[in-house]
Structure formats: structure tokens, C-alpha cells
Symmetry: C2
């Protein structure tokens, strides 16, 4: 159970078929595997050893695919960095993971220099961009050209494959430690659920640094399918790529689907080859789904639910359940059934299973589970008990084992497919002068699903400026985490008897008559 196996198998199947295609380059499977082995050799040459961490900060590219497999092949661990993080967040993740090498593309080369200056663990920067290699960096292509191919380290099973950072409930990102076994399980389960074959070509439009994106890379490779890559999602770029690369499937967050439906190019685009579109990270409304099916009649929709701690797949709702007005469409509000290999239970606060159709916390057990949070034994102990991952999501299970997510136990906002933990935002806000208290909630947003909204209570005599507060947040945390709107409130925030802020009261006026369903 090693991640490089999928690559090796696919290369064996069709060595001369295209494995990776993008605007700039294309590689066959044997070229891809050769470059992966050379990248591993280059990393060894730089002193990278088993268990060392190698980070990457870049938009999607074929090199991002090589990065994952090359690091696995070398025996080291990946640390994919969120491109939307602020500088302090980047520095935190590098310091926390003690990565020795950082690979960047053109867009992040300046930022990488700043990161390296603040992080003594980084011994070298590798420039995997298309422009000239900046001074003080190594050229990715030169390294590949000069390196001897390394033998596969055959890391497998419980060996750590990577550290995937996710928003932290306590104000710091947590490094989710995923072993090869977990990535492999998720890859297998997804490929089975979406019936991936060697005839498939995945269009990577969602970010490859995200576990949902990388899971697609691993899964499609494991089933022998190939990859087309665009740097990031834009409706026109996406539609052009579907056609140019004969993409048969892709993964988008619902926000992207919404953008696609609004794009004037959609009407004239040929999406007939795109037989499956996976959406995840947040639910699709029936209205959007119906519109999408009307406008993309050849495409079937599949919903994936999970979280980073589950590498990330927990459930799938297959395309059968996405056909409006069919009997199975009654399950459309669910996130589907646990994928094979995964068990799900709904439990009360004492950890006892509740009856069907009764809400509780969703917990998940299976070989897709993380090893724990990097250097965070207490948070690991809270999230991982007796082999169960406590998702922090509230939900119920119906009589056929379909899971419905009704709330988040952890106080999290999902905006454009990104998780924002309100605690993290609140900690940033409270560093702004003149505040007595604050609360961050998600409010409905047509484009992003939810938007981050802050309610602040000033100290007596203070009058904080919302614009300045937002700018202050931007200096500390990623843009998508910052409040889009700020309400200044004179009276104290509503609290429970135990002094806990009653966020549901704050949320209520925004969500009146709406469905804050989350998944």
C-alpha cells in the first residue's frame, strides 16, 4: 500500500500514453515516472532523507503532480501549502513542519524568499516556474536534468506520506499527518465510487495543494487514468481545457459550479466529454444542480464528503442520486453512504451511538484516518479516539445508511469550499485595539455559500473602524478567512449560563427562512 504503486502500475499499463497535459508541457507515463525518479534523486542530492519534509507553494501544474510522487519516491513527506495563506501562516506551517526544502512557482517566488528568511529549517528553495530562476534558488528543470533516477523508497502503510495543514479551532493551523495507507484508501474508495478507468482523464482545476485535489491525483492515477492541469479555476479556462484535453471528469467546489453556470462561455462550450463532475467541500443546492444538469446534459454529478483528517473521503453520493424527480433523488439532501472500508456512526456527547434519524456528532473509522495532528497530542486525543475520527460535524443517518450533515459542532464557516474556523479569525480580530469582545459567524452568500461576518463590541469610548479592522486581519490571516463584513454592536454578546457566546442567536436573523445545511 504505497502511493508510488499507482504511478508504477499506470506506467506499466501504457508507458507511451499521455499522463500529464497542460498548456505548456505534456509527458507520457514513462516520462512522468522518469522525472519523478529524477526528482527523488535530486532531493537525495540535496540531503533529503526518509521522513524529511519537502514543502510546495504553487498554483496547479504538472510539476505539482511530480512533486507529490517525487517526494513519496524519495522517502520524504509532502507539505503542500495553501496558496491563500498570509505570510505569518506560511511561516507557521514551515516552522511547525520543519520542512528542509521549499518548491515554488513564479507566482510565489518573492514570498518564498521571505518565508526562507524567517524559517531556518529551509535549506534551499527550488524554483519550479516558467520564468528565469531567481538568484539564490535552484532550477527545478536543471535538477531533474542532472539528477540520477533514485530507486523507489517504497514507503507504505503507516509511513507518513505528508502533513496537510487545516484550519485550527484554537487559532493555529493543525498539521494533519496522513500515512500512505490513508491516502491509498481514499484513492481506492473514490475510484470505485466514480468508476474511474484508464480511459478517464481528470481535469485538475481545484487546487492541488488541497487534499481534495491531491486525492483526485492519487485516485485517478491508481486507476490508470491521466491528468490535465490548469493553474487555477476560471470558468473560461476550465471550459476551454475540458474541450482541449478531452477531460472526462473533474472536481469543483459548488462555488465554482455556480461561477460556471454564470459564465457566458458555457452555452457555446462542448462539455459532452465530461461525463462526471465531482463536487465537495460544501453542498450543492437543488436549484444549482438542476440548472447545471440542464446546461451540462452529458455530465453526471457526484458528491464527495469528508475532511482532511480522512484523507479526505468519508462518503459519496453517486450520480444515480442526482437525477431530479427520480426515486433516488429523495437522498439528494444527504452526503451519501460511507464509502467502502469506512464506518460511520452518529454519537451523542458521551460517545454512544444515537438511533437512526436522530442528530449527533458524525464519527468515522477506517483506514483513511489520519495518524494524528503533527506535534499536537492533545488535539489528536480529542479528535481521534479508539480509532474513530470525530469530525466535528453534526448529522444524522437514515435507515439506509445515508448521512445528512445538519450542523458543524466545531464552529466553522465554509466559504468557497475553504474551511474557516471562527476561533482563528476571532483571535486575529481581538489583536485590534479597542475591542471588548467579538464573534465570527457565517452568513449566507450567493457566490461563496457562506461569507465571514464579524460582530464586534468596542470597549467603552472606542469606535473601531471596520475597514481598518479588515485590513488588520489581512496582515495576519489568509484573505478568505478575513471578515467580509463587520457589525459594531453596543450591547454585550448573548451568552449561555456557562458564559459561552450563543452564536446561533447571532446567526438566526441572517439565516431566517434559509437552510444552513453544510457538508
Amino acid at each position: 500500500m504505497y502511493m508510488t504503486q499507482g504511478l508504477r502500475r499506470a506506467t506499466k499499463l501504457t508507458p507511451n500514453a499521455v499522463a500529464l497535459i497542460s498548456e505548456r508541457r505534456q509527458f507520457t507515463w514513462s516520462e512522468f515516472q522518469d522525472r519523478v525518479a529524477r526528482l527523488a534523486g535530486a532531493l537525495h542530492g540535496l540531503g533529503v532523507r526518509a521522513d524529511d519534509r519537502v514543502a510546495m507553494l504553487a498554483f496547479n501544474s504538472d510539476r505539482y503532480c511530480e512533486y507529490y510522487y517525487g517526494v513519496f519516491w524519495s522517502g520524504a513527506c509532502v507539505v503542500p501549502m495553501n496558496i491563500r495563506w498570509s505570510l505569518p501562516e506560511h511561516i507557521y506551517s514551515i516552522k511547525d513542519s520543519e520542512a528542509r526544502v521549499l518548491i515554488v512557482d513564479d507566482a510565489f517566488q518573492a514570498l518564498a524568499t521571505e518565508i526562507k528568511a524567517a524559517c531556518p529549517s529551509i535549506e534551499c528553495l527550488i524554483h519550479a516556474g516558467d520564468g528565469p530562476t531567481p538568484a539564490g534558488m535552484l532550477s527545478y528543470e536543471a535538477l531533474i536534468a542532472e539528477a540520477r533516477p533514485a530507486p523507489d523508497a517504497f514507503r507504505s502503510g503507516e509511513d507518513l506520506a505528508g502533513i496537510f495543514y487545516t484550519g485550527g479551532t484554537t487559532g493555529f493551523p493543525k498539521g494533519v499527518m496522513l500515512p500512505h495507507r490513508a491516502l491509498w484508501t481514499s484513492a481506492m474508495g473514490f475510484g470505485a465510487g466514480a468508476a474511474v478507468t484508464p480511459d478517464d482523464r481528470m481535469l485538475h482545476a481545484a487546487p492541488l495543494f488541497h487534499i481534495a485535489g491531491s486525492a483526485m491525483l492519487f485516485s485517478i492515477t491508481a486507476y490508470g487514468g491521466s491528468h490535465a492541469i490548469i493553474p487555477s479555476f476560471q470558468p473560461k479556462t476550465f471550459l476551454d481545457a475540458v474541450e482541449a484535453y478531452d477531460a472526462t471528469l473533474s472536481l469543483l467546489v459548488p462555488t465554482m459550479v455556480g461561477m460556471l453556470l454564470q459564465a457566458p462561455e458555457l452555452a457555446a462550450a462542448n462539455t459532452s466529454n465530461l461525463t462526471r463532475l465531482i463536487y465537495g467541500a460544501s453542498p450543492m443546492t437543488l436549484a444549482i444542480l438542476k440548472e447545471a444538469m440542464l446546461k451540462m446534459p452529458e455530465t453526471r454529478f457526484i458528491h464527495a464528503y469528508g475532511q482532511t483528517e480522512l484523507a479526505p473521503l468519508a462518503t459519496l453520493l453517486g450520480s444515480d442520486y442526482h437525477i431530479p424527480d427520480s426515486p433516488k433523488a429523495a437522498k439528494i439532501r444527504s452526503v451519501g453512504q460511507p464509502m467502502p472500508l469506512v464506518e460511520i456512526e452518529i454519537v451523542d456527547e458521551a460517545g454512544h451511538e444515537v438511533p437512526r434519524n436522530v442528530p449527533g456528532e458524525v464519527r468515522v473509522r477506517g483506514p483513511n484516518a489520519m495518524l494524528g495532528y503533527w506535534k499536537k497530542p492533545e488535539q489528536t486525543a480529542a479528535a481521534l479516539k479508539d480509532g474513530w475520527i470525530y469530525t466535528g460535524d453534526g448529522g444524522y443517518m437514515d435507515d439506509e445508511g445515508f448521512v445528512y450533515i445538519v450542523d458543524r459542532v466545531k464552529d466553522m464557516i465554509i466559504t468557497g469550499g475553504e474551511n474557516v474556523y471562527s476561533a482563528e479569525v476571532e483571535i486575529a480580530i481581538m489583536q485590534f485595539p479597542g475591542l471588548a469582545e467579538c464573534a465570527v459567524i457565517g452568513v449566507p452568500d450567493e457566490k461563496w455559500g457562506e461569507a465571514v461576518h464579524a460582530i464586534v463590541v468596542p470597549r467603552a469610548g472606542e469606535a473601531p473602524d471596520p475597514e481598518a479592522l479588515i485590513a488588520h486581519c489581512r496582515s495576519l490571516i489568509a484573505g478568505y478567512k478575513c471578515p467580509r463584513t463587520v457589525a459594531v454592536r453596543a450591547e454585550a454578546l448573548p451568552k449561555s449560563g456557562a458564559g459561552k457566546i450563543q452564536k446561533f442567536e447571532l446567526r438566526a436573523p441572517f439565516w431566517k427562512g434559509r437552510d444552513r445545511r453544510v457538508s
Copy 2:
């Protein structure tokens, strides 16, 4: 990665849906799981501990399904016994595996008493039949009724799941040690390849003691599908069961498919629900395939290739490739591509990979590989090198990674889906008086694919009686292994310079103009 997980997940999905159905009984998933936990509790009560072996000798039944999961649940290991073995073979396998408990049905209760008398390791016999429990045996139903459910032992990964006996090249069956990880991999790969869903119901007609049968049990369970069971394959029983139990898929060896096509009941039978038929253990001729497709127009065919050492799945040829006159039908003579997670290479005698389309020995690497042969380190070392299982099959791989089996390196005959190692038969033959030498080969047979044929050379002055020789073999080895025909030959057998019998010369006249393709 534990085998009981599939059961637990399926039970969670649909506790009240039918899990097992047969002529005599039916159980829901929660009843099935409860009986499994009670069987485990009963085994503990009998002193069975982790790693102990529990054998079963029986026709197919719902209890065979309970046996597998109950033994896994208890922490012990299964030893499924071939119902066609002779008494000495049964005794050999029990003595070799040191099984402590033997479960039998009505058909084998007399034999079980003989086995126990010869095998001191057997502490008790459990009668899982429908007739009265014989003296000296424990009642399976009474044990289940009286036992307390045991907690799941959660055996997983490298833990030994069972010992599966396969014919031995040196005259003794070899116990293939399969860990949970291997059974689980095969189950996942098959379910993905055949697109198994919770809506599926498998009809178990091929024997459940065989790894191909048990792999179907594990796979369909892992994907949430249910099971219908008939004691053994008969065309009418099979057709009646397909209709009565709404079976959506089944596995047959090609000999069974041939029998089905000859059955007068087929014309009137309704097989429209049977969407997929998996065949394995030997190839389907195009003539039979075309006839089957004509007579069963709703059914699609899937070919599975593997061996016990691979738990057992190595490749799948999907239904796409079974549509005559379609472009993909060009691959119909292959056994398909390696299933996900599995790598295959074709190597020469020195273990170096040969070019595409050049024959060599097929070797397979993946998490489906056995741990080794039980108590046979030398044979393990010969079959399992650097993680590769050397299949003993000769074959080649085409440019798209499809594998074609052209010969068996190991001198094996496949008759009616059963492997017969000629060495085992030859050892039995040579115990007959008056023989100088002998050779056993496979000859073409309409019904069985191949039939076992013996060529014997008498000592000077001796005139062995073929009928007596066959009867002699029957006292030593299973009926299907015994020669169906015996040729007495005066001159010495043809030999290579190294003195090795040249079986291809002996086979040639029988196979002239025919295709001895095997898989």
C-alpha cells in the same frame, strides 16, 4: 484493513435488509452480524484463541458465510477445506494447519469423524447441518443460541486471516497464508472492477471453500451487497435461484457456463436480473462466450484471473471487452489489465523484465500477495521474491498492459476450474506396483477444458491395469486429480539432455490444431 469491517459497514448501512438468503433460511444484516459475534463467542468458549485455526468442510450455505466472518471476528484463522479432497488430503491439511476445531455439514459428518480420529489437533467437531447433530459433535445452532456475542477482535493488516490450501508441485498441498490485507485488497479491486453496489445480490454457486468463492463473499459484503447461496452448482438450481433471489451477479467457472448453455431450462429461465457474470479459473472460448451472450442477452461477462497466492485477484477483463465485434473485443483473448493496486511484470528466467509482446513468466506484486506458504520456507522463497509472486504462468503483456496467458511454467492442469499439479498425480501413480516411470498431462476435454491423462511405462514383464491404477489413485487423491485416461507405453518417455521429461512432446498429438490457452 480488517475483513470484519465490510460486515460492520454493511450492517450499519441497512441493518434490516436481507444479508443472506438460501432455501432454508434468511437473515438480515443485523442478524448476520449478531450470529457472527455469537459464533466468535462460542469459539472462544471452546478455547479458540488468536491465531488458532478453525477448519470447515461443507457445501455452500449461509453458515459458510458466518464461518468466515465469525472466525475473523474471534481473532482466529480460517482453513476452508476442499470438498473434493480424499481422506488422506483432508488429514494432511488438518495435520499441517493444526486446526483445533472442524465445522462440517450433513454431507461430511461421517468423513469428519474419520478425520478427527486421525488428527489429534482437532478438539471438537461442530455440526452445522440441517439434520440431527450426531453423537460426539456440538450443534452449531445450539452454540450460537447459547453464546454471548464476542467483541470484534479487529484482526487486520498483516494478521493471518486464513490458510487456503492449493495443489502442491511437489506432491503435497501447500497452505497459502493470506493476511487480512490481501483479502481486503482483492475484495476492493474486484468490487471496483465490477462496479458492485449495495443494490447487488451475489448468487454463490461456485464453492465457498475456494478462494474465488470466498473473495466474492468478501468483496460484495465490502460494497454493501447481499448474498444468495445454493449448496453447489447445478444448472437448474442455479437458474431457479437467479430468479427466486433476484441475483444480480454470480461467478462461475467456464465449465459451469458450458453446462448452463446445455441446460434445457435455460431457454425458459428469466436471467434478465443477472447483469454480470464473472468467470475465472480458466478462459472462456469465444464460441461459448457468443453463445452465452445470445442466450443471456441481459448479462455482461467479466473475466477474473489470479491464483490463491494472490487472494486471488490479479487482473480483470471488464464487460466492455466482451462485446463481440466491438473494437475492444480485440482484447478478448487476454486476461485483462492488472487490477488497481497490483503491478505485473513479465520476466525471463533471470528475473529481468522482457519487452512487450514477448512471453515470459508472469510475476505480480501488490498488497494482495500472500505472506508465504505455511511451514514451507523453501517453497515460499521460490514463489515470493522481493515482494513479487511468481505465478508459474507463462504469458506476455501487450502495449496497453493487457496480459495474455500462454502457458503454465508450473506443470499444472486446469480441469473444471480446479488446479491439478501433475507432480501430485505422478507421485500417487508411482505408488502403484510395476511401474518404471510415468507422466501426467492435460488433454483437451469438451466439458472440463482439460482432462487428466496419464502415460505410464511398466517395468519389464509388468502389465499394469489402467482401471486398477485409477482406483488406486482415488484412494490417495481427490477424484478430480485422478487420471481419466491411462496410456501404457512400452518405450521410455522422451527426455531433455538434463533428463527432464519433455511433456510438450507428449502433449503435442493431443493438442494439434487446438489452442491450449490457459489462465
